[in-house]
């Protein structure tokens, strides 16, 4: 009996660890900004380069910061849903147009609609790096105090919104 005990214990301990490993997607990285203030940035507006979009623009209400680009396939996939969020007035969306060409980005917004309160134009990708973006699209939920609550990497949709974003918004609003 004793000879089997040790291997049995080893199996019982390791199987859950392995199962955990199977279910975690190594491509989904945790953002080091969760629970911390959003990174400081200052960008010229995409549509109107004379205005600046800064971290301070986000403060005062719950916002969604969306990193997007016209070269990004996932951004096209989520665009319809961002339009829906904007039209329903669910949350103000701030765009960071990442490593893109201004003319292409403007014609994208013209053709597909503009869900953003304003988009900052991040031509040399430095602000995207400051936010720790490793791909596009990425969406950050930032609370009224400017604290990052959640980061989602990949195209947004209704199911993800209801599952990941809504509970966090409600939790933050609760006293």
């Amino acid at each position: 009996m004793n000879r089997f005990l040790l291997p049995l214990v080893a199996v019982v301990v390791f199987i859950p660890i392995l199962i955990l490993g199977l279910n975690t997607d190594p491509r989904k990285l945790p953002s080091p900004y969760i629970g911390k203030p959003a990174p400081q940035f200052e960008l010229p507006g995409l549509k109107d380069p004379s205005i600046t979009v800064t971290t301070a623009s986000l403060e005062g209400r719950m916002t969604l910061v969306n990193i997007w680009a016209t070269w990004c396939v996932g951004c096209r996939a989520e665009h319809q849903y961002l339009m829906q969020l904007a039209q329903q007035g669910t949350i103000p969306i701030y765009g960071i147009n990442w490593r893109d060409s201004r003319t292409q980005a403007l014609s994208w917004l013209e053709q597909l609609g503009d869900p953003y309160v304003v988009s900052g134009f991040d031509a040399d990708a430095r602000v995207g790096i400051d936010w720790g973006a490793y791909g596009a699209p990425e969406s950050f939920l930032v609370n009224p105090q400017g604290i990052v609550l959640y980061r989602f990497a990949g195209p947004l949709n209704q199911a993800i919104w209801e599952r990941e974003f809504q509970p966090r918004i409600l939790e933050d609003a609760a006293p």
Binding site: P26, R27, L29, P30, S31, P32, P39, R99, D124, A125, R126, G128, I129, D130, W131, G132, A133, Y134, G135
Partner: protein
């Protein structure tokens, strides 16, 4: 046959032509060596099993540019590591720094060797204490 060797040599040296940045980043060989060492130890976050030295995705080239900028601004290796970890987490570094969070990565191999050693010594001691039963071998019985 000779043509074949020439072909091999051509293919062999051709790999150098695929280097990402064809120009050297720094004139100073010391800075260049530092730069190459750093970028070969930073994970490309988009293509996770490559370093940013080997990857040609946009993010990797942006990060190489940022690291070049920081080196020329006189930042230390630790500053550059801090920059990356603040944005991407410890995961960005192929050589994680010793800290509370990554301690297990550094300690685990030695711990496992130690535990394995103890197990081995115990098994060998146990076997040595068994009586040698020559009769059993002669009669073809199992131990």
């Amino acid at each position: 046959m000779r043509g074949l060797w020439v072909l091999f040599a051509a293919l062999w040296f051709a790999t150098q032509a695929f280097a990402i940045d064809s120009k050297r980043a720094f004139e100073d060989p010391e800075l260049q060596a530092r730069y190459v060492k750093i970028i070969s130890e930073v994970r490309c976050l988009q293509c996770q099993n490559q370093s940013i030295k080997d990857s040609n995705v946009l993010l990797a080239s942006d990060l190489r540019r940022e690291i070049r900028r920081m080196i020329s601004e006189g930042k230390t290796d630790a500053d550059i590591a801090d920059f990356l970890v603040a944005r991407y987490g410890e995961f960005a570094l192929y050589r994680p720094r010793t800290s509370g969070k990554t301690l297990i990565l550094w300690v685990a191999p030695f711990l496992l060797i130690f535990l394995g050693g103890i197990a081995m010594i115990r098994i060998v001691r146990h076997r040595m204490s068994l009586p040698i039963d020559d009769d059993a071998i002669e009669e073809g019985k199992p131990y």
